[in-house]
């Protein structure tokens, strides 16, 4: 097999962390690859390539999406937020602060995916019970923490947001 290119590249544009980006992607290129390889968003991780581990999770139009099993070409005109879009320079997003405060991080490889899944869920379900948090993040795997302190962090952030309102 020498002819490994399927066909011509496809031009797309989407909003990435608040800014419009134009890029050319291969027809079979995943959104994960476009984000990492074309756009340098290396906070989006590749852990299994089959949509099981959740380390590649990004938010697309408000919904948590596993970018390793999504084709980039289908995201023309969409609004994508990655972990890189949360902090404002040195000013962390409150959910990032909550993860630090509650010691929800160990090796850190799964951390961006958990934060994106939690944010997308909390946007629509601002007052979750602990069991609901567990369910909401069950598409993301962590091998280090046993999830306990991750759930603590999300619960803490949700309570903080509620108090702030």
């Amino acid at each position: 097999m020498v002819n490994f290119r399927m066909s011509e590249n496809i031009k797309i544009a989407f909003t990435l962390n608040g800014e419009v980006v134009n890029l050319e992607v291969e027809p079979d290129q995943t959104l994960l690859s476009a984000l990492r390889d074309n756009l340098g968003m290396t906070g989006v991780k590749e852990g299994c390539s089959i949509g099981e581990c959740g380390t590649c999770t990004v938010i697309v139009d408000g919904k948590a999406t596993k970018s390793c099993i999504a084709l980039a070409a289908a995201f023309d005109g969409r609004e994508i937020v990655t972990i890189e879009g949360l902090a404002n320079g040195d000013q962390l997003h409150p959910i990032q602060e909550a993860f630090i405060e509650k010691n929800a991080i160990q090796c850190g490889f799964c951390t961006p995916g958990f934060i994106m899944s939690a944010l997308a869920y909390l946007e629509k379900h601002p007052r979750p019970r602990r069991e609901e948090i567990r369910k909401a993040i069950s598409g993301n795997l962590c091998r280090c923490t046993g999830y306990e302190q991750i759930v603590d962090a999300i619960e803490y952030y949700a309570n903080e947001m509620e108090e702030a309102q």
Binding site: M1, V2, F4, R5, R36, M41, T42, G43, V44, K45, E46, G47, C48, S49, I50, E52, C53, T55, T82, I83, E84, L86, A87, L92, Q96, F99, I100, E101, K102, N103, I105, Q106, C107, G108, F109, C110, T111, P112, I115, I133, R134, K135, I137, S138, G139, N140, L141, C142, R143, C144, T145, G146, Y147, E148, Q149, I150, V151
Partner: protein, 765 residues
Amino acid sequence: MPLFAEGNKKYSHINKFCPRVDAKEKVTGRADYAADLVFPDMLFGGSLHGPYTHAKVKRICVEKALAVPGVRAVLTYKDLNKPFSWGYYTYMTEILRYEGDVVAIVAADTKHALEAGLEAIDVEYEELPAVYTIDEAMADGAPLVHENNEDCAGNIWSHARCKVRKGDVDVAFTDCDVIVEREYETQAVEHLYLEPEAAVAVPEKNGCMTVYACAANPFFGRRWIADSLGIPRSKARLVQTTIGGSFGGKEELMGLTIGRASLLADATGHPVKMVISREESIVCSSKRHPFKFKYKAGVNKDGKLQALQVTLIEDVGAYHMHEFMSFRAVVHAAGAYVIPNVKVDILGVFTNTVTSGAMRGYSSPQIIYAQEQFYEEVAEELGMDFLAFKKSNMLHKGAIHPCGQELNEEVILPEIIENLCAKTDFEGKRKKYANQTGDKRKGIGMSIFHRGCGLGNESIDASAAYICVHDDGSVMVNVGLVENGQGLHTAYSQIVAETLGVPVEKILVNKVDTNTILDSGPTVASRCTVMGAQSVRKAAQELKSYLKETAAMMFHTESPDQVALEDGMFILIGVPDAAIPFHEVCNVHHWTGGQSGVMNWYKPPKLSFSCKTGFGDAFPTYSYSVCVAEVEVDYKTGEITVEKVTSGHDVGTVINPETSKGQIFGGIAMGQGFAMMENLAIKDGKIRNKNLDTFMIASSMDTPEMEAILFECEDKTGTYGAKSLGENATEGVASAIINALHNATGERINKIPINKVKMFELLHK
């Protein structure tokens, strides 16, 4: 007071929560994992695996692959200057000994070209007879995994031999009232760190090779670079990237990947990145050793253990790098009990299946699963309550360890047991659950265990640290052991802060660069705080003494002993208001030519145990732990629910309570997986569940309610009295669950993992 509470021990920076020092880069996605790195003109590297578990390459043709546009290099075993790598492993091989072996490696401009190049390699194989189980490998006339290997007797690996010999078990057994014999078996377990292995090899203009990799053992990494290229170690450099979990696993496949990337970078003159896929990681990386156990105990009617004989057989797979596991296995085979006569033997057997290596516990999760169930069975045979039996035989201060060591440090097992029993209403529930009827039955179980801290006589437990202050008062620390998620850089920052008397914010601990620090061995054996931090503490102490000389000069006093360093201020003892900020002293220190940096080294005192005698002091000290699991079993379906796990650990001194609890929570999830979920479906030496759709680890919906309880004691052995925790956290979980299942069902489980289907069969046999 053994139960941890902040302020129990009078420290300023340790013994309390401090947010992780690497947290910010990790929550923002900025942390530099190896797969994220990009270098100019970088190529992509990959490996071709054979389709057989035991075969010989008859013909290999690379011309077509070289003709693929974008392919820059194709290398096979013919291009190597020696058949084996460092250890028995092979970078590329003519003889395939397991599914993970590699016959060729390719470097190409793009990932597409790499894929096409690998596909275009033409190989003809001759399949060879293979052995897949311990029994097959040990049968008469079995095919040999390693032909002409002087380290093997048949398929038995001579380096895996170790033993314990204390008293005379044969004589003791004849005098015992009751003899109990049981056999148990455990499975291979995948580490499943979320980050698969990755490395980038960068050829330097001066003939050196630098490799950036998520290596849990950077100095082994340096060895693999030098070994693969045949260059001196001085020209090989390993730079550690952020490590996305290791649990003992990022060593063998990681090392081979470092070697293979180096070979491709050397052949092409370009940086080469090799990123291992999840499937490749599961197939090729080492696993927790599968074990077979034979336990035999002699006990008197008064409930006192008199003699124990244990035979351990480990399936080491196709290759093995280190024999030390056998040492740890035999030393812990008898558990945390006083037994006058002990005989333990271990065998390591090669098979044509996935390789075995270190995984969180390094034999202990397997052994504790067997032994803690075994001692319950012994108590049962005696008609005794198992807890009373265990308590009456348990290790205590001044007792002689099963290997012959006199335990001179505190043993707080009674306090931990009492606390956990009260917290879980252990004995009340145990009685309540004894006579259940109905479909859903509950159970509660316990494991009591210990762990030799650090490497002990397994290997050399020495390590280096370099600490310097800059003229602005900031502090930099280089160490030889790695942050792999466990929180080591945070612990080291707190320990430097405690020793120097400056806040954690002033301190930066760097990741390992083998060019900036001495070989400090592997990040294994839960050694890095208890032993590895000793050099950090010593270096900080020495540096402080130099800074005090400058401060004394600034205070116009003769003696540095008059000077103290507290909360970032140098003070003159007994003189109110005489205080100079740390950074001002550092500035003067620098401009007056004071020594601003210190490299220090710590090597623990020599111990007497050896695998030749099987007797003596094996570890500098021990951690003690108790785990309680509560389960529910559905008799209709076999469904097992672990409802709660309470895990109590004596860690000597808590450095950081939240990161310590994080270790325990993660350990519970991993231990539960070992007991119930995690099973590699290996058929004829091949792994069938190669990714996370078929290989299951616990999700946030699967983990039980957890309680982590920290205990402290006065043990002077480790850094600031700290002891090991990382591996202890996972070691006793499976046995507590298995014992709880017995409480619920009356069934003994002599082989794990036990899932719903197997439980159903057991209940309805």
